[in-house]
Symmetry: C2
Subunit: 184 residues, 2 copies
């Protein structure tokens, strides 16, 4: 399974590709950051994020895109840009028919460190260890994107079983695949 993790942001949008399956060692296929200038027009920044995400989708052809679920109560000043950048990532994936999964920051932290309240350094250290990297990916947004991808690979089996159970027991279940992100 190849997953593109996206830590959304307008100034820095972290992107990381991880390959593997739950229960076996994972491999990093790529990591980076899509940046847009803070003084550019907001619509042009979104366009730049789209171009960046499209390049990553073209280069790595992931089977799934895992995006951080944005909450309005955190970082009120930047949350609008974060929500908008996440929309662009979700849209790029949906346009190609790639399933999108949303994971909360605490789900991601809990998946890679065992604690939903781990700090950035701890997440970076575990990403480095789990992917057997020489050094923690910089900036933190890049490490967070890899953590999202790892979280998704590890959580996907449980999510798939849940979806299949829901589909079996639901009268109206026209699109199991389409609801993937909502059970994240």
């Amino acid at each position: 399974m190849r997953v593109l993790g996206v830590d959304p942001g307008l100034t820095r949008c972290g992107v990381g590709v991880v390959e593997g399956v739950a229960g076996r060692p994972l491999t990093m296929a790529g990591v980076g950051v899509v940046r847009t200038p803070a003084d550019a027009d907001p619509s042009h920044r979104l366009l730049a994020v789209e171009e960046g995400i499209e390049q990553w989708l073209d280069a790595y052809r992931p089977e799934c895109v895992a995006v951080e679920r944005v909450f309005s109560q955190h970082n009120v000043r930047t949350v609008m840009g974060t929500a908008q950048a996440s929309a662009v990532a979700m849209l790029c994936a949906a346009r190609r028919g790639i399933p999108v999964a949303l994971h909360t920051p605490s789900e991601v932290k809990a998946a890679v460190t065992g604690s939903g309240r781990a700090d950035k350094a701890q997440v970076g250290a575990m990403v480095t260890r789990l992917l057997r990297l020489a050094a923690p990916p910089k900036p933190a947004d890049a490490a967070d994107a890899l953590a999202l991808a790892i979280c998704h690979i590890w959580r996907a089996p449980a999510q798939n079983r849940l979806q299949q159970a829901v589909a079996r027991h639901s009268v109206h279940a026209p699109r199991t695949q389409a609801t993937k992100g909502r059970t994240a």
Copy 2:
């Protein structure tokens, strides 16, 4: 001047096209709502909003797109969807090189009713009068989209003068057009 106003939302995204110039009677070219099912996958909802906005851009070829500026302090429960739908509208316009202007709800209300704290009924009544319609557009999102377009046409001359002044006095002014939305 032909302006597409967008009142962003995932469940109902209001769209309205207004033609005219400040100081002369305005004309409505079209009005409607792009809807997406609340039970669909979030990424598929964004895709449906994109398809809807693209159809309006194809059909009306506006010179400018005016989008409501979303604030995080309002309607915390729905603000994420609103921010994401607005990102899609901004992206669709930017992709075609169409300038995007952002206006706050109070700017829009003040423009069409004289009060930044007017209620929806008052905005609907003034939109009906200003565009010489037989009845207020329904739902309110459609009327709000028209109000956004009217607001933009009326504010555009002042904004353009401001941009030109900024461009004249700025050492680094590589893209006056691109900063249009930020002075809104």
